[in-house]
């Protein structure tokens, strides 16, 4: 394997796109505990985080300590098809495809580096984010699908997808999502913009797709939970609008389980992207 040395650039920023099955991880990072946390000790769930596994695999390859920055702090049990992270390395680099495969060979089977790119130092996985899309996957059939265990949210009662679509449209635009955030989210502003919110049905799958500028803690799971209760006829279709206007958490639906949630992709400002 050949090595490329670039003495004019001692530090290189690398952008990774990664996919993972979140079932066996305590989320992306332990920092799920918000700044308002009052407890004395943090709970130890005995599960590793995706970040820890990824850092360990990269360290094996670059052979120096490093810190990876992830764009989205996915919760425990949440999956990703296109999480994006960056890290800096000042060591000699092997070619991009060899580098990617070397990292993958050190990762467990439920985490995969899909893409590895050199990126300008102006790129920041958190700061350069322009929009993100999540999917919430529901298996809507009398029977569970045992092969989707941990990968879906099962609903046996037939969902009224048209009603869900009608309600989903009310999420689009810039709103105060304080009623759709878990208490203790620790954010000053709870105003977020949703570019798109669509509900699609294909065979037994009902998928809620949400694209937005950014999301509060548990926001998508509460949005999905509200749409699900509307689809079951437990809440009226205008409840999304009412809950957004009032900002009251109790008017929105229950938080849908983490199992069904996938971080699909993240878009970044073009000036931060590789040329």
């Amino acid at each position: 394997m050949s090595f490329v040395v670039d003495p004019s650039s001692p530090s290189v920023r690398i952008k990774l796109t990664i996919a993972y099955r979140g079932t066996h991880y305590h989320g992306w990072q332990r920092q799920e505990i918000p700044p308002t946390w009052k407890g004395e000790t943090l709970p130890d769930h005995g599960l590793p985080t995706v970040q820890e596994c990824l850092e360990k695999a990269i360290k094996h390859v670059v052979r120096h300590p490093l810190n990876v920055v992830g764009s989205s702090r996915t919760d425990s049990g949440v999956h990703a098809k296109g999480q994006v992270v960056h890290f800096d390395t000042d060591k000699v680099q092997i070619p991009v495809e060899g580098f990617r495969r070397a990292i993958n060979s050190r990762l467990p089977g439920d985490i995969n580096v899909v893409k590895l790119e050199h990126t300008p130092a102006t790129f920041d996985a958190i700061g350069s984010t322009v929009s993100k899309r999540y999917q919430y996957v529901i298996w809507n059939a009398i029977d569970r699908n045992p092969h989707l265990y941990g990968l879906d949210n099962h609903r046996w009662q037939t969902l009224d997808v048209d009603l869900m679509r009608q309600a989903a449209a009310s999420f689009v635009g810039t709103h105060d999502f304080v009623g759709f955030a878990k208490a203790g989210h620790g954010r000053e502003s709870t105003v977020r913009t949703i570019f798109n919110c669509a509900v699609s049905k294909r065979k037994q799958f009902v998928v809620i797709g949400v694209e937005g500028s950014g999301f509060l803690w548990n926001q998508i799971r509460i949005m999905a939970g509200t749409l699900l209760e509307i689809g079951h006829g437990e809440l009226p279709a205008d409840r999304v609008r009412v809950a957004l206007e009032s900002g009251e958490r109790r008017l929105a639906g229950r938080t849908a389980p983490a199992n069904g949630l996938y971080l699909q992709w993240i878009k970044f400002a073009s000036n931060s992207e590789p040329a």
Copy 2:
């Protein structure tokens, strides 16, 4: 919910078709230990078996002790789309669909009763079997698919599917499969009939489908492992024929991992089936 009492038939035989993800189970039953086992104590893997979970769920519904008989003793990690079991119950029965759902409501999310039928007492999940079909699922792409974790066998080198098909054809017919069985299988006769052995490719999936009268311990995993080594060019395409003729285990390929194996369906003698 209404109950149907049939006093003329105090004992009813029930046939269940079940699907499961085998990842979190120590196989169908603990009897994977063959009769030739010399150890003093049986190993305790700390995992439940599918049979134990199913019996527990049914007992909750029928409220009497029972024993379920499974057609196939799938190994640890092997999945099922259509495992078939029977059991007898002498208690008042709720209607078929309610009975099925009552059992499912007591089962974990990775086991599902697909079908529940009343069947003549002549039906025996083991004895009435005429043929069984298994699938071996390979994900053939440079990258792993993290969402298939535990559900596939990943091979990053491109498989020569035509060579595998050619070799698979040699399995069809009645042969002595002693070279394709794990030592200690404990069977007197190692002659089995393969009705069909096909290799199909669809996008990144390569699937080996095997239909036969019955199989020896690890037989399909050794058949799949041999076809995989032929597909990688590690073994010549005529090796299947040679290994069958010689009956030597060392001539066949390595045992493929349990992850990729699915029990697809089981056919029974028509005179044992529900009218």
